[in-house]
Symmetry: C2
Subunit: 142 residues, 2 copies
DNA sequence: GATTATTAGATCGCGCGCGATTTTATTGCA
DNA sequence: TGCAATAAAATCGCGCGCGATCTAATAATC
């Protein structure tokens, strides 16, 4: 029961993810961002105030071993600030700087550019997104 | 026009791909393989004889900078052999060793295990796979 | 209140994954 | 034939992404 890559759902997801990141790359490169960095900023833009490393990791499903250096790079770029929570000294809270907040407007055109390239209607995109999220959650739970 | 990750199709693909690799990881680890290594072997198992680095890269949509070290690791494990084409000395042909061929049987249970965990019917899997491949190809072409 | 268990991040090692560049071989063209 | 253009792999640098491990802080248990 061995299949060629062209028949494998996992490979479809794998190569589509890379194609998607290739589509984002030139747009984000103009802003000096990588795709994972853009995801972290998207999480921060979506909720007011600061968020802990743990919360961001939960949203993006990334381990601290991935997230810590990623956020440190954003900090080095001056887009976010990191500081210890006073209520719980274990937690590190991440806050957008002014430059990080301003980046939201500078990146505002990106989702539209990608949607155009995907060649799908809004409802098709939403349906596919929900199906893929459901598969992800089933795999994570099982 | 900024969305939270939970509303982004790209993030659905991104996190589902990682969830899929997490599902494969323990099964492949028993065989001493990583997921990309398994993909290369799947490509080789699906076609008799040897295949060039370029052909494998085309099938898996990977650059030579990714594929060369990956295949060298498979060679170091004794699963494949690499040799220059005689007709065209630029080409490197990759051939399964006996151990590489035998790995196909040892990994035969893997696709079924993943399909079970995905919780989708065969037709649902096929439909999603084709939709995702179509999206990928649109993104690559645009 | 002291000891143990749990939790949050950080660190380390390793394998991708790619863009940019380099090397070597083949092809095209005058 | 000779020389530029193209093509195939390999190499290098950098940023993920994770499992395993470590450290420090809080929570739980006695």
């Amino acid at each position: 029961m061995t299949l060629p890559p062209s028949d494998m759902l996992c490979f479809a997801l794998y190569s589509a993810t890379h194609a998607m990141q290739s589509a984002y790359a030139p747009l984000l490169a103009e802003l000096g961002l990588t795709y994972p960095q853009y995801l972290v900023l998207s999480a921060l833009w979506s909720s007011p105030g600061s968020q802990s490393m743990g919360t961001i990791g939960h949203i993006l499903q990334l381990e601290s071993s991935t997230l810590t250096p990623l956020v440190k790079r954003l900090e080095a770029m001056g887009l976010v600030a990191r500081h210890r929570s006073e209520r719980d000294e274990r937690r590190v809270l991440v806050t957008l700087t002014d430059a990080g907040t301003a980046m939201r407007d500078r990146a505002a055109h990106v989702p539209g550019c990608i949607a155009d390239r995907a060649g799908l209607s809004q409802s098709e995109i939403a349906a596919l997104r929900d199906t893929v999220f459901a598969l992800r959650d089933t795999l994570r739970r099982a």
